[in-house]
Amino acid sequence: MSATALQQGNSIKARISRDALVIRLGIVALVGFLFVAVALPLWSLLSKSFQNGKGEFIGLANYVQYFSTPTLFHSIFNSLWVAVITTVIVIPLAFLYAYALTRTKMPGKGLFYAVALLPLFAPSLLSAISLIYLFGNQGILKSWLFGGSIYGPIGIVIAQIFYCFPQALIILVAALALADARLYEVADALGTTKPRIFRTVTLPGAKFGLINACFVVFTLVVTDFGIAKVIGGQFNVLATDAYKQVVGQQNFSMGAVVGMILLIPAAIAFTIDRLVQRRQVALLSARAVPLEPKTNPLRDAALIGYVMLIGGLITIVLGTAVWASFITYWPYNLTLSLKNYNFAELDPGAWSPYFNSLKLAILTGIIGTAIVFTGAYLVEKTKLAPAGRAIAHLLAMLPMAVPGLVIGLGYVFFVNAPWNPLNIFYGTLTVLVVNCLAHFYTVAHITALTALKQIDPEFESVSASLKVPIWRTYTRVTVPICLPAVIDIAIYLFVNALTTVSSVIFLYGAQTKVASIAIVHMDEAGFTAGAAAMATMIVLTALSAKLLHVLLDKLVLTRLQAWRRR
């Protein structure tokens, strides 16, 4: 009897250590991946900025040179200035829009929200291309500028406003949607005036969202490459400087210095934002009563007008590029044609950049989702190797503070390094996929964590008590429960990999040029219409993916998730 008991014990023990082994291996693999994909490239960038062209350590010499070259360091002020102006304009605009969507009884909220989010499905430079069609040298509304030029800070700021608007809007809608009706009832009962209620209840409630939105917009503008490249003209900013140094002059060390400088405002913004958010106590207690907006005809009418104006402008600006892409010869022959879609005449790669982009987006979406979600699961739901999980989480959060251009530069130096056995991957789709994933890792990771935190923490315990291997519970219970979040992550990665310019601009190879880069090249070569056509293709693809997502959600997911219905 004791012998069989012992035997049984041993066999059980063996099976269990396999469970623990799998978890440990998973954590090691995750940390290893993030180390290679995130930490090492950043380290390469850092060390490159202290080396000369031959790779010898020269201390701060590159930095000294940078700051003694006025044309270079002047870009810092240009970048900051443009970013501040954009932030100051975008935040109030987006706040009012978000207020209309959350605190009024206006009709068509869903439609207006969707319209405002449209720019998310296009590369940043799409709005710049549109502005060129409207106000550029051949622009149909050029006279509106009274002799001013759209090429420069004005163009950058306007294009950035359109690009950043949805990003700020998402944050502010989330902030304003959470409100405790009781606070408003108390304020009302005390006879508080409307403006005072707004100042003492509404604004403080949205404070953290506002701060967060400011930092997000500021960072986006400082680090965006596409808009400044297309419409910046002679106006130099940090992002275009990095490109010129690396691609134009092959001066990698100086490129690294610019990259490091680019990292500073983003890192500062990220750090301050984190510190501020940490002080955010749960404003909304569990017993809060959700705020039900009241009808106020005058206010609602005014806000509908406002929302229609902004939504209309967004549609016009995005639509112009799309429309222009079908125009035979702007602005002289406005008949519609598909001539500009004949990429073979405009770009050596013909249509292949588009299909490369598609491949990149699909691979990033699928592989990325698998890595991110499994990684988040290991971090959140397992108990072994606490140090490893903490490191993995830290590395997963790091990309949030790193602009795409900077991570792209880091990859150039890292993958190109002669000592690196991975340099056989240079210019391959593999590098592009890993780079995109690294760039967009944090948001996906947070989405996965949020979903995982909502499911019962005892599933793993139950499964252990029933002697069921952990991966079985992962695939049979955890993933199915989190399917909506999993698909969200996949779509997020897909759309962003499709539209990104900055993170891949240094990394593509002859065979792997992607659509967003083809846009930059066609624009550089003066084929603006071709650039618009390629951008339109990206927008159409991204929107189709989103539409498919919505349909899938409505038709398939609801059926698969029958267990959610009472």
């Binding site: 269990i16 315990s461 029933l466 049979r476 267990w563």
Partner: protein
Amino acid sequence: MTCPRRERGQKKIMSTTVKVTGKSNGASGAPFLRIRNLTKRFGAFTALNDVSLDVMKGEFVCFLGPSGCGKTTLLRAIAGLDPQDEGTIEIAGRDVSRLPPAARDFGIVFQSYALFPNLSVAANVGYGLVNRRKGRSEINARVRELLTLVGLADQETKYPVQLSGGQQQRVALARALATAPGLLLLDEPLSALDARVRLRLRDEIKSLQRRLGVTTIMVTHDQEEALSMADRIVVMNAGLIDQVGTPSDIYRKPESAFVADFVGSMTFFDAEVAGPSQVRLGGIDLSCSDAGGFIKGSAVRIGLRPEEVKVRNIDAATANAIDTRVATLDFLGPFCRAQLHPSGAPGVTILADFSANLMRDLKVEQGQQLTVALPPEALRIFARGAPR
């Protein structure tokens, strides 16, 4: 009946094994679960402090104690979910101290039930069976058997959200029992249910446990639940075991003021030992059945359950008859709780429960004088020191 002799300082000794066999089975010999010197720390905080305990095969044991006393911690250590820092655990003679949960042979039901929401009731119950190289039909038969056992035979295709709280609880129970574990662990399994369902499930769980004879440990902070369900109760306080005993032992012979206070209600008042079976409360001398080994002159605490205060049939021969004034009367449904102020001992308040019946017969009213008796055998004597 004897008054226990132990003092708070000796608690460590108490917390080591107190072997009282469950009354429902005459099991003897080696315990099924043997816990020795278990210590668990969270940083600087000691959640379990050198805990030892034996549980016999087939027993139903309740861990009872106030919130934060370490009940869940002890249960999770037994399961191997949060392993202890020191000490050993043996299940069925096998040292499992270092083994992961899956090697320990137990079923567990959590307060949240942790039912897999995307699996049907049948799939939930069969979850642990699928892995054991059993045939489909064998698994289905077992699942049906278990669902019948918990009275949910007709619900197998439903999903957890479509069940009531009590039904979910029973599914969780069936799932935990499916693999026929040697040990069943329940962490506050009834606390998420409303009072009526709780009462019904109490009986159901208890009778199920009796029928299956599975050794069961249930965590609860509800003393009524523990008293009505357990073969033995383990009363815990601040990471230590205060007392282990049958429900009637715990209620009638609490070994510490803490246990006395936590299980049932009790009035405490300070007194002094005046003789071998005599204590002095203010100006009143009271006889008790045993001064608990305290020497004359020691400062002690006297505990008295409100329902033990006697009002009827008091005559000259009745021991410990004292004159009191009814200071307050609180109506609590089937009975009234009175605060009595003894005339001979100013500043002392004695709580007494008067049945509705008695209230009507004697017409007790607030402010009136009332002679009551404190039966000597009902006076419990503890060392001085506030119950923790």
